[in-house]
């Protein structure tokens, strides 16, 4: 293996690209932190209300990020409530019940869904609102429920794929153990296969949660607003962190609002990287515990 000019050029090119990429990211994150760290404080989140009162929903928070954070939280809860059962069941079907040809067709279907731009999913959610508005109840408008439903559609293909791949990667010997002892298909799935793949599935779910926390396009079309306070019901408008950041970028009126925008961006970044970290750390811990010795 000789080192010549071309080799050196290749190495040089690769190093340049790596440094360019890493450098750009560090520049972006660094800029954000530098500009925004001063804004991080309890006041940023709770404004003039005491944190305890705010957390117990005793008092509304005005001018702080708390309502947006609560909105994001409820969004995640609701959308996961829709997406998890549907996604897990579909993943189980594809991995354990579907014959080869059907599996391929459905897989393609979900790949396509995963590729649909988020704004189109949001538009779909909006269209559903129109449908419900006209045929059901003219009191229905874009709201927390519709946003959560639309977010569920957004992350559904990821949960399905994660579950499917996790189950499919279980070795044959493990799959055959319980049936050879008289277990039914369902017993095998719930007593052996799912516990065996729980770490992969959970890490996929955490990533999906991250997706819900960061999405802006879907919620923009389905009910998020700039100011709404804590959502009163699932049919009301709501705030969310990512939308707040977008809104500030285009509509900030003074320096203090801009600072709040920076602060919100840092908080959102922390939440998303935190979820990312949990997903990977959790994967390693759980895998060690449920490792099959074979």
């Amino acid at each position: 293996m000789g080192k010549n000019v071309w080799d050196m050029l290749l190495g040089f090119f690769a190093w340049c690209c790596a440094i360019l990429l890493a450098g750009s990211m560090i520049l972006i994150i660094g800029f954000l932190i530098l500009k925004g760290y001063k804004a991080i404080s309890l006041e940023l989140i709770f404004a003039n209300t005491s944190p305890l009162d705010a957390l117990l929903f005793k008092q509304q928070v005005f001018g702080g990020l708390f309502p947006a954070m609560v909105g994001t939280f409820f969004l995640i809860l609701l959308s996961m409530g829709f997406a998890l059962p549907l996604g897990l069941a579909s993943g189980i079907f594809l991995a354990e019940y579907a014959p080869g040809s059907i599996k391929k067709i459905f897989s393609l279907c979900f790949d396509i869904l995963a590729g649909v731009p988020s704004i189109v999913i949001g538009l779909f959610g909006f269209s559903i609102t129109i449908l419900l508005h006209h045929s059901f109840n003219s009191q229905i408008f874009p709201c927390l429920l519709i946003s959560a439903l639309s977010l569920a559609f957004l992350v559904l293909p990821y949960i399905i794929k994660t579950t499917q791949v996790a189950l499919e990667s279980i070795p044959l010997l493990i799959r055959l153990t319980a049936p050879s002892l008289g277990a039914t298909k369902l017993e095998n799935i719930f007593l052996v296969l799912l516990p065996a793949s729980i770490s992969d599935i959970t890490s996929g779910i955490v990533l999906a949660i991250g997706r819900c926390a960061e999405d802006t396009a879907v919620i923009m079309l389905t009910g998020v607003v700039a100011v709404a306070g804590i959502p009163k019901s699932i049919f009301s408008g709501f705030e969310a962190l990512p939308f707040y950041i977008y809104y500030i970028a285009s509509e900030y009126s003074d320096q203090s609002e801009l600072m709040k925008g920076y602060g919100a961006a840092i908080i959102l970044l922390l939440i998303c990287s935190g979820l990312f970290g949990i997903s990977h750390w959790g994967k390693n811990r759980l895998t060690a515990k449920t490792r099959f010795n074979y």
């Binding site: 050879s180 002892l181 052996v192 516990p195 010795n293």
Partner: protein, 236 residues
Amino acid sequence: MIMGKKQIKIQIKDLGFYYKNQQIFENICIEFENNSITTISGPSGQGKSSFLMALNRLWESIEGAKVKGTIRMDFGKGFENIYHKNYSVTKLRQRVGMVFQVPNPLPMSIYKNIEFPLKLRGEKNKTIIAEKVEQTLIESFLWEEVKDRLFTDAGLLSGGQQQRLCIARALVLEPQVLLLDEPTSSLDEKSVQVIEDLLLKLKKKCTIILVSHHIDQVDRIADNKLVLSDRRLVQH
């Protein structure tokens, strides 16, 4: 050789096994005597494991596998066609146990591993369960080694111990037929000896069909020696 009426446990007629449209073996006709040890040897990849799986219908969990022919077994009430469309597969597997080539303990404690088949069958009485666990572990020559750590992870046992655990687990439902796929191929000499003694003891309660590569083992314990090669099953 005792003369007299041989009691047939398993009757196989025209058995064929296919995997992804490729023929593994075909037209196998053979009978297995009650309370005997039959060994099956032969070159690898010829379908010995598939043959065993035809006897407890485990191939049905593998996509692309197909079986033709009839298998009838006598569990005490006359011959039953185990491939009958109404025949309960789960009941079959409680009467026909299987031990795999590589030990496959479930990720639970030793106790829970053996309790598992009992729970599947609906056994809830804790006393009965505890009794059966102890009984099968004693039978499998494993009790003395694990009686003080029944609730530790089964994965921590040695290979030979794990395999004996798998045998105990397969025995807890008191199967009438026991299928073993090269059970000692990954074990040390001492474990091999222990398991062979175990099988000779079990012969009195079970009909045992054993896939084995080792000529010595076959000579030591077989009542009947078969060879599966060139897609046919013949007497050795």
